[in-house]
């Protein structure tokens, strides 16, 4: 039996949320409802350009969604995708339990074959 990609760790999602500045940005967006690169940069010790780059990473991971607002984009957290990231995190331990049970089954089957 194999594990599908959906059950396993989504690399893009992990690295997107793995950065402290991006987590702080998600936090601000959750508190304030929405924000732009400019509004977020006013709350963070990084430049607007850096914030825009981080928003791009979060956007590609599906964690935020942007809608045009004048010269900028206004971003909101995608609740479903954030919930999915959290669910993946909590499933890591359970996933290893399942893998180890499969390892046990395979190794014991080989052992029995060799004894026969």
């Amino acid at each position: 039996m194999s594990v599908t990609a959906a059950e396993d760790v989504d690399d893009g999602l992990w690295s997107a949320i793995g950065d402290p500045t991006r987590r702080r940005m998600l936090d601000l967006l959750l508190i304030e409802g929405d924000g732009t690169a400019t509004s977020l940069a006013q709350r963070l010790p990084v430049t607007r350009q850096a914030v825009a780059k981080h928003l791009g990473v979060l956007d590609r991971a599906g964690l935020v969604r942007g809608t045009p607002a004048g010269r900028e984009k206004r971003y909101r957290v995608d609740d479903a995708q954030l919930a999915r990231a959290v669910a993946q995190l909590s499933s890591v331990g359970a996933a290893w339990d399942a893998r180890l049970r499969r390892i046990k089954r395979i190794a014991e089957a080989i052992q029995r074959t060799q004894q026969d």
Binding site: S2, L82, G93, R102, I103, K104, I110
Partner: protein, 153 residues
Amino acid sequence: MEFGTIEREIYIEASPEIVFEVVSSPGHLKEWWPDDARYEPAPGAAGDIVFGDPDAGGAVVSFTVVDVRPPRTFSFRWTHPAGEVAAEGNSLLVTFDLTPSGAGTLLKMTESGFREMGWEAAVLEQQYREHATGWDFYLPRLAPYVATLRVRP
């Protein structure tokens, strides 16, 4: 340095030699984990593991062998960005330690690197935040996972 680690142990009624083969060879790996595994089981060898069909939304994940000492230890790093050298901070480290026990083998698995990758820090940090935020909605779901993490001095 602190880091979060997942630890699991399982007793297997098979010799350490057999268990080592099952946890380390690409052919066996894909029987218990990915759909495909492409690497040489040699220290430092870089490859990847594949989930699903890469041409249809599947995932190709970097996989680098760290240590190969049959029949006692096999370790690898995974999830580092493609093209990057696997190292602390950009990947998760999985170590299998095998100990003979009776007629079988005690297999211990540890997976570490969560703190370096920011995940556990994120969880701990958010738990202690005083103000109510959207995280409160998600945190209860994290508790079962946090309980499996051991923080070491």
